[in-house]
Symmetry: C2
Subunit: 132 residues, 2 copies
Amino acid sequence: MVREAYKPNVLNGRCPSQQVLDMLADKWSVLVITCLGGETKRYSDLLREIGGISQKMLTHTLRILEQNGLVARKVFPVVPPHVEYSLTVLGTSLKEPLAALCRWAQNHMVEVQAARASYQDGENRKSSSLVA
Amino acid sequence: MVREAYKPNVLNGRCPSQQVLDMLADKWSVLVITCLGGETKRYSDLLREIGGISQKMLTHTLRILEQNGLVARKVFPVVPPHVEYSLTVLGTSLKEPLAALCRWAQNHMVEVQAARASYQDGENRKSSSLVA
């Protein structure tokens, strides 16, 4: 009997692909990978270029991405230590899907803001009709 | 003087597109949108089809997606209440970018698992050389 090949499925809570998605579906992971792009950068470059990230969050995110094989960390034994980060081959294959997600956020932010305002209006009308 | 058009940029911490990315870059948001696809589904369908999601998290995620104009909620005034969810036009435009992300997770989960194991091996070797 031939065993059917296992078909990965993110909707299956026991499939490792759902864990992988969980690691990727994180604003800071997306922004670190986007910011690295095809370049090699220092920690201080990333900290400066990714608006809103804290040192603690950048360190944490780089560690997770390194553990998962998406980012390579190269330490140069000089004083003070010089550390460079770049995408691995695996990380590079994520550039395009994540770029598409970032483009969507950039291209549709006005529509999302309008939808939020309209939802809030509806909620406010409901509350005022309850008070009246 | 013509004012230069504002160019959205997710790397800018004050750009609304970074907030939009934050809302999207969430495992459960991705899975709810993926599970809805082009269909209309009931709450119970989503709860059954999205492995690992709790009722509380599904309710929370649907609310966020509705507030942001990605999911439409239709309530039928019957007893017991019948509620249906579907993607809006805006939400539908996200299907393909999110599908690409899910495909990446499914197609590369084995490589990510291997990278994790290899990283862990490296860490273990470091610890044992310290003990020795």
